[in-house]
Point group: D2
Chain length 413, copies 4
């Protein structure tokens, strides 16, 4: 039987960290002795626990410690991280440490360095000269880069529940099923938009083509005009259908005004692509007066950063779409910097891609009429995501109304 002493700090009781750690130990055949527990008297106070963890073999203890460190346990006797050189471009050393999306520190030469841009499913590259560390994906790594291997010297600080209860991500941290009321939640969300803007956080909208098909485009335009969108990530499809709507009044051939298929409707999206290709892109089409309304037009006019990425089912694409998936990932990662609130609307592919790049500190709202899509995306963020199973059009209509009211209040105030 070998043992090691670990410490836990923070809201370890009400964030369920202590029990999860003890449970993990028992589940994995280990054992524990609680050396000391100081439980915070009230919500703001931090708690502390010192626990001696034991396991039958050094290996199983190591394994165990690795697991509970994901929950924030720290080894009292700390070691430096081990580093291994990347054997080739795009390849990690065999035993590379796999990141979570939580705040993470690595101990290098006895000092802790915070890992930049925490993101899950990555490795950690350390620059000993610069005394810096950052998450890296396969496409980032170059032969010889120093990559963290094993788990010693890595400390994870899980996001802890906020002490205030004013924010909807605290009291409604869950999915709102199709059978629940949504108006109250939408109102609360509009306050989150305000809060994010006030605090200087960037707001990112990730949107799928259903947004245009359902006629919700004009609502998003309004939200953009009120200055509540900083970045928009979408696919070629959303841009094409938005242009189709602007030019022909249809989305995938369906008239948004009449709700029925228009004459020649199914050809319109191809003609829209052709127009934009001929004009040399969306910004050019706006400048030339070809594109005079719609989401894309609003983004150009209000300096919203657009990232359009391609997929194998695209028609076109229109100029400006990044068709290479890895290039698109790099651009999205770049544009995620500074984002504190993400709203994902009817787009499983893009939403999962984005969720995959976010730090646990970013707040996520997922809206989709398909409950499986909502739970799939929302499940990645434990304390900070809300999923709404509802129709995108009425959701955005209501949100735009709330934000318009807010903007009006702000002006008058």
């Amino acid at each position: 039987m070998v043992s090691e002493m670990v410490e836990l700090r923070g809201h370890i009781i009400d964030s369920l960290i202590l029990p999860k750690v003890l449970d993990e130990i028992l589940t994995r055949g280990g054992n524990f002795k609680i050396d000391e527990v100081k439980i915070g008297q009230n919500r703001i106070d931090q708690s502390y626990a010192r626990v001696e963890v034991s396991a039958p073999t050094t290996e199983s203890l190591d394994e165990l410690i690795l697991r509970i460190r994901q929950h924030g346990a720290e080894i009292v006797e700390r070691k430096d991280v081990q580093l291994g050189a990347a054997p080739a471009d795009g390849v990690f050393p065999a035993d590379f440490y796999v990141t979570t999306n939580q705040q993470t520190f690595v101990r290098v030469a006895g000092k802790e360095i915070e890992v930049q841009e925490p993101m899950m499913d990555s490795a950690i590259a350390v620059d000993r000269k610069q005394r810096s560390a950052r998450t890296v994906r396969f496409y980032d790594v170059r032969k010889g880069d120093e990559i963290v291997i094993g788990h010693h010297g890595v400390r994870v600080v899980p996001l802890q529940r906020a002490t205030s209860h004013t924010d909807i991500f605290q009291f409604l941290n869950t999915n709102v099923s199709a059978e629940r009321p949504k108006l109250a939640v939408i109102k609360e969300l509009s306050r989150e938009f305000e809060r994010a803007r006030r605090d200087g956080g960037k707001i990112l909208v990730v949107a799928g083509p259903a947004l245009v098909h359902t006629g919700a485009g004009e609502h998003l335009e309004r939200i953009i005009e009120h200055g509540y969108v900083d970045r928009l990530f979408a696919g070629n499809g959303l841009a094409v259908y938005d242009v189709e709507t602007a030019l022909f009044g249809t989305s995938l051939g369906v008239s948004l005004e009449r709700g029925a298929l228009a004459d020649h409707g199914h050809e319109n999206h191809l003609r829209a692509v052709n127009v934009i290709r001929e004009a040399n892109g969306i910004a050019a089409a706006v400048t030339k007066g070809i594109l005079t309304r719609g989401i894309m037009h609003a983004c150009v006019r209000h300096n919203v950063d657009i990232v359009l990425s391609g997929s194998i089912r695209d028609d076109g694409p229109i100029p400006g779409v990044t068709t290479d998936a890895i290039e698109a990932q790099k651009i999205m990662r770049e544009k995620i910097r500074g984002v504190t609130l993400v709203v994902m609307l009817g787009s499983m592919l893009h939403s999962i891609a984005v969720a995959n790049m976010l730090s646990a500190a970013v707040k996520i709202v997922v809206v989709d009429i398909d409950p499986s899509a909502v739970s799939k995306i929302a499940s990645q963020q434990s304390f900070q995501s809300i999923g709404l199973v509802t129709d995108v059009e009425p959701f955005l209509r209501e949100l735009a109304a709330c934000l318009t009211d807010q903007a009006a209040d702000g002006t008058s105030g």
Copy 2:
């Protein structure tokens, strides 16, 4: 090879009746010779076809004729129906004719009688003295009743497509998926409500508990107040949650104002049941001033006929709920008389039960966030149903707004 001459009349080309009939003949190994075709010159004109149908044996010919008569083919040489006596209460003679929901005539003593209250999956009882015929279900039939057997002498007149295109059931006879715009359709539906009321048709709303859970109750109240609902079919659940909302502001414990579970919330629906049981029912609770708002209250105030039926998952039930399924079917069938428009909102069980009792002439709108539910229910009515895959709350909110506008216009006009 035996053969028989059949005739087809009506909009047999554009309603796809002729090709379906010819196809049926070929599919079943028969053959045909088209004796005469007169195709209407334009949309209003009826067409006519006389076709000689042949098949290898008398039996297979008989079988074939039976199938194509479902599409409206008539045998030129007509026979009387055959009748058999019901062997016991609740039991049909073995070879009973199974009805469709189309208009149907039976030939008795050389004269055709129209079958009353066409409804699918029933038998036809003939009263030779009264020269009348009506559909009967198992629970209707009494020992000795004369029931149609075989298919000779039965003529089905399938609903034909209307010549006008003003009505949405003609140009949008389909399901509107989650990815389609719905505002235009809702506006058009509000005109159907007006049309039904103007023509003296009754409007039936079939509603499930999600209507209350999502906070749509107040919209339905408004529609009731404007006089657009004549009958309401629902289960114990809808009534209970509506009362819960009226008394406690929650639906299944969730506060409609805050969107989150209220303290003690999960107990509220039981306490609501208890209150109504103690008050001796909903109408009494309204009279006594216990129930002062909500859907049930509006129905009592505006003389909407309420039919509440029970199910095995009910809590309670509250007084006035018909807990016996067959009794409930009888009551619903009674209350369906005169109904020309049915709106089904988030209630698969009740909607299928009702759809099962409707004549093909009744128009149906199905609204549900679950696409499977919509297509299941809407599939029963070929020319006259529209299915909307959307959230019930914003649908009703928009519909109530349209109907309120209409009501205002009507008053001022």
Copy 3:
């Protein structure tokens, strides 16, 4: 500030009970001081905590205590329950205590009595003479019955996680999505069937009509023949389609052998109903040699208790179906006694009705191809339910194969 001392016992750490309690206190504006914590050294050991809970007012303290008692907290200074007389048949006193499905004790005249047949959403009736207590629903209560009001003197003992990990309900206590492997789980479940049978527990199958439509009937027959089913709850539909299959080889008109609609197929279920009505029920049809195969036949032959309940969408019904919903609830509740394992197959209505009557100690397996149905039903049982999102037919085919192997092993052993 008022305060009260409470105690927690059991696996309060790894079952997350302690942190939930502390969290509840803080969330509701209360405060706590941990007086003593003894944490079990290993998994089998029980833990103990004594906590002083305080709140601003007596009322809010009372409210708080009520909440944390749902998690098993006991007041150190114990009181007797308060009892109120039912004001009328079918009506509870206004402030009646609403049960959970957990093991519950009430303190009467200083002694604790266990409440019989724990079941959620009920009241507790106490018979002081008999010194007994039982859960009662609205339909059970008679004027003058003594019903628990408030929450003093009620002690709830939440089901705690078992110490052994051999059982699948412990290590896989969750829903298995469509995207997960299921073969391993099915194998493990077959061992649960064996275990239930060995321990003298009854096995209940709750089944919907899709079971027959998908061709899974023969698999269930096989499982019945091997003696793994004690009770079957279903609706009229399942019985009708099973008879239709036995008599005509179709289910709702679709040939199970060819997968396509049979000639006249859509009439077959009505003819099946007629045959059984004429024969005076299923058992009689078996005796008379009319019904010679199928699920119903197997149940009659192997003495499986069948409970068939009616719904408003039923055709027929066949004799033996309980059409009154409340009568059906009473019968089901009766037949649930002794059941330790429930398998729910493609039947949301019946499954929710049954789940609603079960004690937390009963194990539940839910199988449905619709993920919403699975999560809705499975969510009611925290530590003891497994949901599988899959097609019912291959699930039962595999389960039948496993159980057949087991039965063979048992015989040879």
Copy 4:
């Protein structure tokens, strides 16, 4: 009022072509006079109709003719196609003709030329020197290419229903819902595999990662080993999880043997990517003995053409994945040549991309547990697609068993 004479030929009655054409005319405010109808006497005979179409203006007549030509109507007085030069690389002339996926002919200098590789949503490029025509997408077109504009001189020959009924795509041309029996259909499909192979058609499997997650990989391996797969289209995900399964026994961390999350499981897919990147690709990993089982291994061993395309949610990717969406489209289009049967398994993105490139003559089977995915994909092919709503794993298990039996029969025969 202007008019034009059109002709219809083929199975215009039972394929519903004539009525659709007449209906289209009336719907669009035109009128018709049927000049001559010769209806085929039996199923094999072709029918013929000559119809005079009239409309108020030349424009509306033109519009009308365009629509009905999609149904195969030909103008009796034929004209040559009009050609316009592409104004720039990747841009079509403004009024370019948009293709369907049906067989299409263009009339150039008085002679009809068949358009190569019919595919929907494309333009037609004509090479007058070579007397050839082919479908082109945006990425294909070069400045100056001659592209068909307007619709004169284009003749579409819609796929007509086969006269034989031996093939399942004829008698079961629809989606098989979750509530239908599937065993019979799977058996019939296995015969389609045999037929395709016998006739020299290539079989393409399009597969999503759920195939591996559900444990169906080994079934696909078996089908590959029996020589029933010529090409496999998938994403990076499927390949990664397949390698993960081969190396670690898990898929996205879940043990396929135990059905539960393995220790460190969530890291395995990243480690799998790393191994393949280090090995320089899948084929190399097979050669080096690193990859010794799984789908990828079977493809390499049995010379199945693999096309792997990237998406923005990919980890990695592994070498060999085409990350550029347009490049991937070109490769897929190349590899679709000669394919006569496509099986799409749990992959909406890839399936829609592929369906979008197929001629109407190719047979499609879509299998997914999500009914929306099935209907979305299957809706693109009218006479030749079957959709199965079921779990991919048991579907493939059964199919593999049928194909194994067939292979055994073939060997012995």
